[in-house]
């Protein structure tokens, strides 16, 4: 049994909320995706299986809708509106991202849904919140990420280059994280009530992004300062040292926090010796001093006192020398074995094939009957040992579960 086994979730198909439904399905909920008869728009989003377009071939749709059952309803027809209301009467959660006018037209406002099912948790995920007319505007993940704050902080030291938005629908995904946290919180509350316990939850995507910008918001709120973007590292009020380094195989690594404890200097020196690089690095003597340092370093003396400055400079330069000598993956593993929080900059497929994630069960093969092939999906982001998360079915074919669900009482 999974955590949400027995919980039924009705999701009105939309690209903005698909990830929330997927996460809840992985926690064991029976998520029923409602699509229009012609299918939801995301079925036409690339990439496609073998690059051949088709409503059953979108890997975008597959990714975000794995784990769900799916039915089609024509909500312009009263018969199907009644079917939806019947379903909602049996449901625990409704997730939707509709314009407010359509909600009124479908009589899906919370006052109505709650009357029919006082235990229903109704979650609306919209660009600016349900009450805000701007929520009815056309938006994309890119435009929301620009308005909501993340874009301002990401990019390059060179500000003649535009700021950057990361790939992967991170704006929608951030809002969906709040949707899942909200559903779990509301279910916990409802479970402690003897009757009723449903409620309406209004989630703003741009608000979710505004509070997911770390220092950009709180530096302004606390002291009125504005962070400026930098290449591959935290945006900052004043420029900070570079943290990305290109390794011998041309791949990049993030050097994280340079060595600052004697044991870290000692291990770095050992590694340098193992690689046979001590000869060409005269500053190794300062690594040795760092390794034998008595008591803690006074970090505030860096740049002021010669010896401590030389020790810390040698630490950073030793890392650069090693990086130029070894491939990025070796650099990452070697630094970590020396106790340094360094990371190789993987592409998504390199990350997916990494031994660590395979060992943690992040490859989940699912059989796709209509195409007679097995597709490896990424596994759930976390699992409860006493109530495991699971991914047991691929995304539904259009109307796949019409017969078994629409006929339900």
């Amino acid at each position: 049994m999974s955590v949400l086994t027995g919980i039924r979730i009705i999701e009105l198909a939309h690209e903005r909320t698909a990830f929330a439904g997927k996460l809840l399905a992985e926690l064991g909920a029976d998520v029923i995706l409602i699509e229009p008869p012609e299918g939801t728009a995301a079925r036409h989003y690339p990439p496609f299986v073998d690059d051949v377009p088709g409503i059953e071939r979108s890997l975008h749709f597959w990714h975000y809708n794995a784990g769900k059952r799916g039915i089609t309803l024509d909500l312009t027809r009263s018969g199907d509106q009644t079917r939806l209301r019947t379903l909602l009467a049996t449901a625990d959660v409704l997730i939707e991202s509709e314009p407010s006018e359509r909600i009124r037209a479908l009589r899906l406002n919370f006052e109505t849904t709650a009357k029919a099912n006082p235990r229903l948790i109704h979650v609306a995920v919209t660009p600016y919140g349900r009450k805000e007319p701007l929520s009815n505007l056309a938006e994309t993940d890119l435009t929301l990420m620009a308005s909501g704050g993340p874009v301002w902080s990401c990019g390059y030291d060179d500000h003649s280059l535009p700021p950057s938005r990361g790939w992967g629908f991170q704006g929608y995904q951030t809002a969906c994280h709040f949707a899942v946290m909200s559903v779990l919180t509301a279910l916990l509350y409802r479970g402690n009530q003897t009757s009723g316990g449903g409620q309406f939850i209004d989630i703003s995507i741009t608000a979710a992004l505004n509070v997911t910008t770390e220092g950009a918001s709180y530096n302004w709120l606390v002291e009125g300062s504005t962070l400026q973007r930098q290449t591959g590292r935290h945006a900052s009020i004043r420029p900070t040292g570079e943290t990305q380094i290109q390794c011998a195989d041309q791949r990049w690594a993030n050097t994280g926090v340079p060595p600052r404890f004697p044991v870290e200097f000692a291990r770095l020196l050992d590694w340098l010796r193992t690689l046979g690089l001590e000869e060409e690095f005269p500053e190794a003597v300062f690594l040795e001093m760092g390794a034998n340092w008595e008591g803690p370093f006074d970090l505030s003396r860096i740049g002021i006192e010669d010896t401590i400055t030389a020790v810390f400079t040698a630490g950073r330069e030793a890392l650069q020398l090693i990086a130029r000598t070894v491939p990025a993956q070796s650099f990452f593993e070697g630094c970590q074995q020396a106790g340094l929080a360094v990371g190789v900059i993987n592409s998504p497929e390199e990350a997916f094939e990494d031994i660590h994630f395979k060992a943690r069960g992040m490859h989940v093969p699912l059989y796709r009957a209509d195409l007679d092939r097995t597709v490896v999906h990424p596994g759930p982001p976390f699992s409860l040992p006493a109530a495991p998360s699971r991914l047991t079915r691929t995304a539904p074919r259009l109307g796949e579960h019409n017969a078994e669900i629409r006929g339900m009482p």
């Binding site: 505007l137 790939w167 709040f178 946290m181 709120l221 002291e223 590292r233 190789v344 592409s347 998504p348």
Partner: protein
């Protein structure tokens, strides 16, 4: 208004953002979060405590603005866990708690004698949620991370950037925020399981697992089509799988001013072309042309945007239903954009030393059990006396003795 999580108590060792962000949510919804800090190092196992930004330039261990932002409405106590008496106090607190939460490196709590088996002996139905970079199991479980390292390892750094440039990555710890969201989910899910079954458990959350799943359809494009992101230039301001054009961030008039514009379909393109009103747009009526000649299109569109102000472009395109968003600076989205203030996104909290200060609120509203953020983060040891006397049953004299002995 009732609280969603009233009655739940969290014995909280979390810090920084990846952990503290999780229990901030729980506290906002009414859980009693008791944060434990080390008096010997003045709570500095959380590097944010006492660090900038500072309100009115007032410095000090209690004055850290980031720490305040992430720890609203929590109680704070100090325990010197190198002493046996502090361990006894901690055992009493765990016995009275529903959840123990931490985001130390793997194995730290166990080293202190409070691994899951020890916790379970104190309280059989305890929920223990640990959040570390690589989890407690797997080849890299001893490796250390923080947000940017998680982003690097998982693929998220690589997929943010411009062609011909190194990765731009994320200009903040996206995965510390998001690791905190997953940690909150894990705690809430485990509480739901206990509500149903009475059973506790240990959830071993790995921030990098969660990050890996955030790559979206790129992973299936790899497993199904064998396509590598590595084999092409990343251009992340464009649509990841090239179905929308234009889709980019364009320079506007002024210093470092930008606007994001996207067109999903021909209708939106036609509306945009009418706003631009220049003859060159006629060459781009088909989406195939727009995708094929996207560099040229972006250059022409950029020529149009760079003589105009970003908010003028935004309101013009919004009126025609074209997806648009000015790249807002912090001051603009916090002070100028009415949608954030109207949502109540920047609540003012009262901190015992800092005074009144605005913080990040929650981007959600519940109709019955909404969140509240009123109290700032605890000063070091601010609630030790009240928690030990009111909750754990120690006398005031005993507390005085503990302080004198260096236990608290």
């Amino acid at each position: 208004m009732p609280s969603a999580l009233a009655g739940y108590r969290i014995c909280d060792f979390t810090g920084q953002l990846a952990g503290a962000g999780a229990t901030k949510w729980l506290a906002a919804f009414g859980a009693e979060v008791i944060r434990i800090e080390d008096p010997v190092r003045q709570g500095r196992w959380d590097i944010l405590r006492g660090n900038p930004p500072y309100k009115d330039e007032r410095r000090g261990i209690d004055m850290g603005g980031a720490f305040n932002n992430h720890n609203t409405d929590k109680l704070g106590i100090t325990l010197n866990l190198k002493t046996d008496k502090a361990k006894d106090i901690l055992r009493k607190l765990i016995a009275a708690s529903d959840v123990v939460s931490e985001n130390f490196a793997a194995g730290v709590l166990e080293k202190w004698g409070f691994g899951y088996d020890a916790l379970r002996e104190i309280r059989p139905d305890i929920i223990y949620v640990s959040n570390c970079g690589f989890g407690h199991v797997g080849p890299y479980s001893r490796f250390k991370t923080w947000g940017p390292i998680v982003q690097a390892i998982s693929g998220l750094t690589h997929t943010s950037g411009l062609p011909g440039q190194p990765p731009a990555g994320w200009g903040y710890s996206y995965m510390d925020h998001t690791g905190g969201y997953y940690m909150a989910m894990a705690i809430l899910a485990a509480l739901l399981h206990r509500q149903r079954t009475g059973e506790g458990q240990w959830v071993d959350l790995a921030c990098t697992d969660a990050a890996l799943t955030l790559n979206g359809p790129a992973l299936l494009d790899w497993t199904v089509n064998g396509r590598r992101v590595r084999s092409r230039d990343v251009y992340s301001n464009r649509d990841q799988f090239s179905s929308m054009a234009p889709h980019n961030i364009y320079r506007c008039a002024g210093d470092d001013e930008w606007v994001a514009i996207a067109c999903r379909d021909d209708t939106q393109w036609t509306a945009l072309a009418e706003c631009i009103g220049e003859p060159w747009t006629e060459a781009f009526t088909s989406v195939h042309t727009r995708l094929e000649k996207q560099d040229e299109l972006d250059q022409l569109l950029s020529n149009w945007t760079q003589t105009r102000h970003k908010f003028d472009i935004e309101s013009m395109l919004r009126s025609r239903q074209v997806p648009v968003g000015a790249v807002q600076k912090p001051a603009e989205r916090i002070e100028r954009d009415p949608t954030t203030a109207n949502f109540g996104l920047w609540p003012m909290v009262t901190h015992s030393a800092i005074g009144d200060v605005r913080v990040d609120g929650q981007p959600v509203h519940f109709s019955v059990t909404d969140w509240q953020q009123k109290r700032g983060a605890a000063c070091l040891s601010e609630h030790t006396r009240s928690v030990l006397t009111d909750l754990l049953g120690y006398t005031g004299d005993e507390v005085d003795t503990f302080y004198a002995e260096g236990v608290l």
